[in-house]
């Protein structure tokens, strides 16, 4: 196996996900298969090849730093699972 259940568990934790115990076996097997397939790239000689992260290689252009009021607070909060009309509310973080 390319990736163990423990590793999957760790990575999942980093991504803030938890995989149900009964799905774990299948999940790590599939992940291993996929990662093994990706090993294919190791046969390509990429010495001195500059990575291409985006097809657009021009510099990201700057724009004027202007204040524009595009959306109201009410709109921005409109999809919040919990809010008090002013702020997003999350479970208590400090005691």
């Amino acid at each position: 196996m390319k990736i163990s259940k423990e590793e999957v568990q760790n990575i999942a934790k980093l991504a803030r996900l938890e995989i149900a115990e009964d799905k774990m076996e299948l999940f790590s097997r599939q992940l291993s298969q996929i990662l093994e397939y990706m090993e294919l790239l190791s046969e390509v000689d990429t010495t001195d090849v500059e990575p291409l992260y985006s097809p657009i290689e021009h510099m990201t252009p700057y724009r004027e730093d202007e204040v524009i009021r595009e959306y109201s607070r009410k709109e921005v909060l409109s999809n919040a699972p919990e809010d008090d009309g002013k702020y997003f509310i999350v479970p208590k973080v400090v005691n």
């Binding site: 090849v49 291409l52 097809p55």
Partner: protein
């Protein structure tokens, strides 16, 4: 002819000439949706009320010839935000998400007089090739209701094929416009990266995603592209390259004399379904008879495209989907008292299996110790793949390839084997890695299976008019497809 069978161009002209009203057009499509939707399940939301209201207002005002899509109903994939209309990405995560802004694509469609008639089904967050990863429904292929429509824009492609609309909008990250278009026997255009604004296109792979039209003709695709293309200050990767009048330009292709069409051997020597192979060879003969010159080329890094693509897209997905934390929008798990637990529960309950798989793999390839071996390596191979294409264009006008090695497969046939599903993207994802435009179109029905066979033209960056122009010429020589068999009662 019944209104719902008309092209977008004919609908607009019919309204301008006074042959029918916008309201009649909208009613015709709503009726057609009602008749066909129970068979194909292509749509997540039908915007009947607003569409009718908008049609009445437009009829009161009278037609505006300046507006390129006046009165044309458009189905939009549910990954593009629509103001005051739920936008779910076919995910439980966004089941109740009602955006307060339009995506730039939708804004431009509306400004040109188009009517958003429905939102279409898709693979959750555009991750999939069969539309089976939707959290809400399974879309069927209009040609055979036991088969998939392709994905991830399967709802849009099936909808256009079933005449629920003249035009739909899809998005394409690794083939998600072109493969479902091929599976459903319609025309799908993936524009050059940067041609169409991604503002309001809910992000999956930001260096790959592009929205584009799914239509039943080259001309409709040209018309819609001329509406949605162009620089948008809200998307810094959108290009300021001028937007030509595609519709006027494609008429310049009077014949195919002197047009050089390249056939990459790595694609055509791949194991193809027999129907695809046979139809394509007939199509080569047609191209030659129209005066085109067919040349063989090599794109040597083709076999690495799938591995490269999935490393990059999963990495980008893991980063993009970090925003779903149950705080500002989207699903939040109930009764969790601790913050990290709230994030974890919300994400684990809100995302489907395939989405979680891709986030975890993406997190893995970006993690310390693996970054260089996977992500950086893939980005390097990505450049080699793009260089293959760019140097090929020194000796040809367009490249012609299959869209998929396989025909539409049966529902549930491949969903248990993700790697097999990924491998079928071999012909479509290289183009996204390279940022190139591609046009998928039907060349007929296969002899054995009687299912649509599609091929694609690929052009250099910002040469959409070449793709559309050549296909517009060829389209007239191909036998039109019959009514999709799954809809014939």
């Amino acid at each position: 002819m019944e209104i719902y069978r008309l092209s977008a161009i004919d609908i607009k002209e019919g309204i301008l000439k006074g042959d029918f009203k916008v309201k009649e057009v909208v009613e015709a499509y709503l009726k057609r949706i009602e008749e066909t939707e129970k068979k194909i399940d292509a749509l997540l939301f039908v915007n009947s009320e607003q569409a009718l209201k908008q049609a009445e207002e437009m009829d009161k005002k009278g037609p505006d010839p300046e507006k390129k899509l006046w009165g044309v109903p458009v189905v939009v994939k549910d990954v593009l935000t629509t103001r005051d209309i739920k936008t779910t990405c076919a995910s439980k995560m966004l089941e109740n998400f009602v955006p307060f802004y339009d995506s730039e694509v939708v804004k431009r469609l509306k400004e040109s007089g188009a009517i958003i008639i429905a939102k279409s089904n898709m693979d959750e967050f555009a991750m999939g090739s069969s539309t089976e990863n939707s959290a809400f429904k399974i879309t069927k292929n209009p040609w055979d209701l036991t088969r998939v429509p392709g994905g991830s824009s399967g709802g849009s492609a099936a909808s256009t094929a079933a005449y629920q609309c003249p035009v739909s909008i899809g998005t394409d990250t690794g083939g998600s416009i072109r493969q479902p278009a091929a599976f459903c026997g319609v025309v799908g255009l993936k524009p050059t990266y940067g041609r169409v604004s991604r503002f309001g296109l809910i992000a999956y792979g930001s260096s790959l995603d592009q929205a584009g039209p799914i239509t039943r003709s080259a001309k409709d695709a040209a018309l819609v592209l001329s509406v949605i293309a162009g620089k948008d200050p809200k998307d810094s990767t959108s290009s300021s390259e001028p937007v030509p009048d595609y519709l006027a330009l494609i008429d310049n292709f009077k014949d195919l004399k002197g047009v050089k069409i390249a056939l990459p051997k790595e694609y055509w020597e791949y194991e193809l379904d027999k129907d695809i192979d046979k139809k394509s060879k007939e199509f080569f003969e047609l191209l030659k008879s129209l005066g085109a010159e067919l040349v063989s080329i090599s794109l040597p890094h083709t076999k690495y495209a799938v591995a490269t693509y999935y490393i990059i897209v999963m990495a980008e997905a893991s980063s993009n989907l970090a925003r779903y934390d149950g705080v500002r929008y989207g699903y939040r798990a109930k009764d969790v008292k601790e913050l990290i637990k709230m994030y974890t529960k919300s994400r684990s309950e809100g995302f489907g299996f395939e989405v979680q798989r891709r986030i975890i793999l993406g997190t893995y390839v970006l993690s310390a110790g693996y970054y260089d071996a996977y992500y950086k390596k893939a980005a390097q191979v990505r450049r080699l793949i793009r260089d293959d294409f760019l140097s090929a264009f020194n000796s040809c006008d367009v490249i012609l390839t299959p869209v998929s090695p396989i025909l539409p497969f049966r529902l549930k046939e491949k969903i248990e084997d993700p790697l097999q599903m990924y491998l079928a993207d071999i012909f479509s994802c290289g183009l996204n890695l390279s940022g190139l435009p591609g046009l998928s179109f039907p060349i007929g029905l296969g002899e054995r299976e009687k299912l649509p066979v599609g091929v694609q033209f690929i052009a250099p960056p910002f040469k959409e008019e070449v793709l559309l122009g050549i296909y517009n010429k060829v389209e007239k020589e191909l036998t039109p497809l019959p009514e999709p068999y799954g809809l014939v009662s």
